[in-house]
Every structure is written in structure tokens, then in C-alpha cells.
Symmetry: C2
Subunit: 252 residues, 2 copies
């Protein structure tokens, strides 16, 4: 039919989501994921079996303002219109921010990019309910200056093996961080990490380690030796998922 | 018994909550409310049938950083400790921020106070999932300067009958607003209203009216005539509940 004879095109989606109610990005045998919802709603919209490819496979509970997904379709629907039509079908905790056609060979994990994650910490005597889904609560005093000094040791190209969840299968644990900022926003403390790529749980382990420095359990200089020993046990705990949000994605 | 012989004391709670999953503050025959959860958990903690009295009976879906509740108890538990013990029992979307003993005749609705509400509007082409529970989304362009000019007409003592949900039973619809601010915070537009007291749905009708001004459907000067006619039909629509948060409560 006319529809099925149309040429295939590749479409890129900018996807925002509240990760609270999902088992992360990636398809799973049991549990609804961002990817499974996108595939389901794209099938509903376009009538094709579609498997999106994601740029950052975020964990359960992690949020995104701008994750990236691509897929191929024979649909004649203009790529720019897919955002509107897809948002009508998606649950309200997932919203496409943009849809556009890209080159047929464009792949989000095979191109240079800069990703920025924010890890948000709410510091107070008691938790604040309206903040609970998007930040980590602590009643511990944190030495922000020490955390800023510690953060500087992480900037640049390093072997981040100590900041990678054990069991992750990767060829190399060397990554480059362009910046690691520690910013006070009232009672919130925001850790902002920008890099070309991240290991499994890397930002959450960085957050957990910087909080250990903030509490005085580690010194800023300890971060140097943590990097050197290449041992997950040397770093701090993995900070809880809900504090983490993918806030920016730039292709360079 | 020794416990029941102890003297009654009045305890004031500062209560924060995410209103998303509640049928408002006030006790209802069907539906869980902030008040019913407080009463249930106070009974569990103190072993007494307790009925808290609230300061602001917020609607379903409205949030609070600092609503006020008082109750009388014969418990020997120091008032300051009740916050900690009660938070262990409350659901995570309600958290006591402070508990303290007050004078036996202190009543939150019979003393001078200043309440500050914020109504948050998120302006973008598409909704942002992590903002959806705590703001109102609009893709309409809003003229912020016009909204600021309109807001000035609301400041001071006025008969706010046009800004009161019809059917509300009150002796007088005259209220005093100390300030009405319109503040841009990036893509968010925050309406901040401070007053001694508010009519039913008053802040949400103010927000709905200011948005009509922002969209050019009403002029800033129309707010004067809306006040004068004392008719709910003259004002704009009641803006949705989730954008509204009680952010400050001062006793003067």
C-alpha cells in the first residue's frame, strides 16, 4: 500500500520523564520502563512495531529533562508533528519535548556528546514532602567548601573504576568530566556533573562520596587516592536514585 | 492512672504536605485528608482520641510547606519531641516541621497572622513531567508586565467577593492583601500573594484572573472593575489546585 511503500526515516526524540514510577529506561521482562512506554505508544500512533534506541539508560527512579531516543519509521507523519501526537498517548509522567528527523545513520551512542546530570540534596531537620521525589534528604551538616575542593579532583580524564558499580561490563573505565560543580540553592545543595560519558551509577557514587567529604568522614584529598586505587570499595555509598536528574544533553 | 492525671497542654504543629494524594485538609466522610492522617497518627502515638484544629483548610491537591495545627493532650511527651515521633508514623507525603507547646487558649484562626501562598505557572511548549505535580502548565505566552500591573490593583483592603467561590458562607468578603508579586524564575512564573486571610479559592481565582490578563483577554485595569462589581462571574477561572502552595505562615 502507499503507506508501506514510503521511505524509511530516522526520528530523534527529546524525552522528559519523572522516573518515580518506572523501572528505569531499559526494557525489562517485568516492570514498565520508559522505553516500553515509548514503544507501546509509538505502535499505537504509527501502527508499526518500533524499538527505540536510547542515549542514556537511566536507572529506576532517576529523572530526565532531555534524554534522547531514536527510531526508524515508514510513517508519512512529519517528524516535527510526532511530539504532539505522541504526547496525547503517553502517560503524564513522560513527555516528548521535541521530535525531528535526523540522518539515517545517526546514533545517539555513537556520536560525541556532553551530558549534564544534577544530584539534588535537601538539607534540613525534617524532610519536605514536596521535595521528596526529586531530591535526597539529609539532616547532616555538610561542609560545602570541602565538597567543592573534593569535586575539583574529579574534573578531567581519569580512570573512574572506583566510581563504577561492580559487575558493570565495560571495556574501559576511563572517562572525562568537563566540570563538577557544587552549588547552594537555599536549603538545596546541587551537584552538577558534566561529562562525555558515564559509568554505571557513576554520578550517584560521586554524590555519595562528596557527601562523605561534606560530613567530614573523608577529606577532599582522599578523592585523589580513591581514583588511584581503582576499587569501588574505596568510594562512598551510591546515593539514592530520586536525587538524580539528567538535565542537559548536547551533541558536539 | 498517673498518665491520665497529668495536666492538659496545647501543642502547635507546623505541618508540611504534598497535597497530590489527599482530599484536602479538612475531615471528610469519604477520602483521606491531612487532618484525618494527623488524627490517626496522633492516636497511634499518644493513645488519645485527638482532633487537630487547622489554620488553613487547604483544598484537595493544594500543597503546604508550613500549615498550622493545634491539639490538646495529656501526654507527658515533651511537645518538642512529638515532631520526631509523629513523623515516624505519618506517610512520607506529610511531615511535621516543628512541634511546640503554646498557651492553653491559643487558637490558630483567632489570632493575627500573615499567610503567603505561591501559585506556580510553568510556561513551555510541552509539559515537564518533574514539574507537573507542583505547577500549572501553559503553552500560552503571558505578558508579565501586564500581570504585574494588574496585581497592584489587588493590594490593600478590598471586598474580594468577585474572587470568592460562590456558595462559600462567610460574614464578610472584605480582606487585606499585603502584597501580590509576579516573579519570573526561568520558565516558571510565580505569583506570590501575602494576606491576613483568604476567601474560598481566592488565590486560585486571582491566579486565573492574572493569567487572563497575561493572555490579553483582560486588561490590567479590568481588575478594578472586577473588584467593584462583586460578582464571581466577572473574574477569571479558578486555576487548578496543584499550582498552589502555602509557603509561609507568620503570627504577628
Amino acid at each position: 500500500m502507499e503507506k508501506s511503500e514510503s521511505k524509511t526515516k530516522r526520528v530523534r526524540l527529546v524525552v522528559a520523564y519523572d522516573g518515580t514510577n518506572y523501572h528505569g529506561w531499559q526494557l525489562q521482562d517485568n516492570g514498565v520502563t520508559i522505553e516500553s512506554e515509548l514503544n507501546r505508544c509509538l505502535f499505537d500512533l504509527l501502527g508499526e512495531e518500533i524499538q527505540v534506541t536510547g542515549a542514556s539508560r537511566t536507572d529506576a527512579g532517576v529523572h530526565a529533562l532531555c534524554n534522547i531516543a531514536v527510531f526508524d519509521t515508514r510513517s508519512r507523519m512529519p517528524a516535527e508533528k510526532i511530539s504532539y501526537a505522541l504526547n496525547q498517548r503517553l502517560p503524564e509522567d513522560i513527555r516528548i519535548q521535541k521530535s525531528e528527523q535526523v540522518a539515517d545513520d545517526w546514533h545517539p551512542r555513537r556520536c560525541e556528546s556532553r551530558k549534564t546530570y544534577e544530584y539534588r540534596i535537601y538539607r534540613a531537620e525534617f524532610p519536605m514532602p514536596v521535595k521528596r521525589l526529586y531530591s535526597y534528604f539529609t539532616y547532616h551538616a555538610l561542609n560545602v567548601d570541602a565538597m567543592k575542593r573534593a569535586a575539583e579532583y574529579l574534573v578531567g580524564e581519569h580512570d573512574f573504576k572506583s566510581f563504577c558499580q561492580t559487575g558493570a561490563q565495560v571495556k574501559s573505565t576511563v572517562r572525562t568530566l568537563y566540570s563538577v560543580e557544587v552549588e547552594e540553592q537555599g536549603a538545596d545543595l546541587v551537584l552538577r556533573v558534566c561529562g562525555s560519558g558515564f559509568l554505571y551509577n557513576m554520578v550517584r557514587i560521586i554524590a555519595g562520596t562528596l557527601m562523605e567529604v561534606g560530613r567530614g568522614r573523608k577529606s577532599p584529598e582522599d578523592v585523589m587516592s580513591i581514583l588511584e586505587v581503582r576499587d569501588r570499595m574505596a568510594a562512598g555509598p551510591t546515593a539514592p536514585a530520586q536525587g538524580l536528574t539528567l538535565v542537559r544533553y548536547d551533541f558536539v
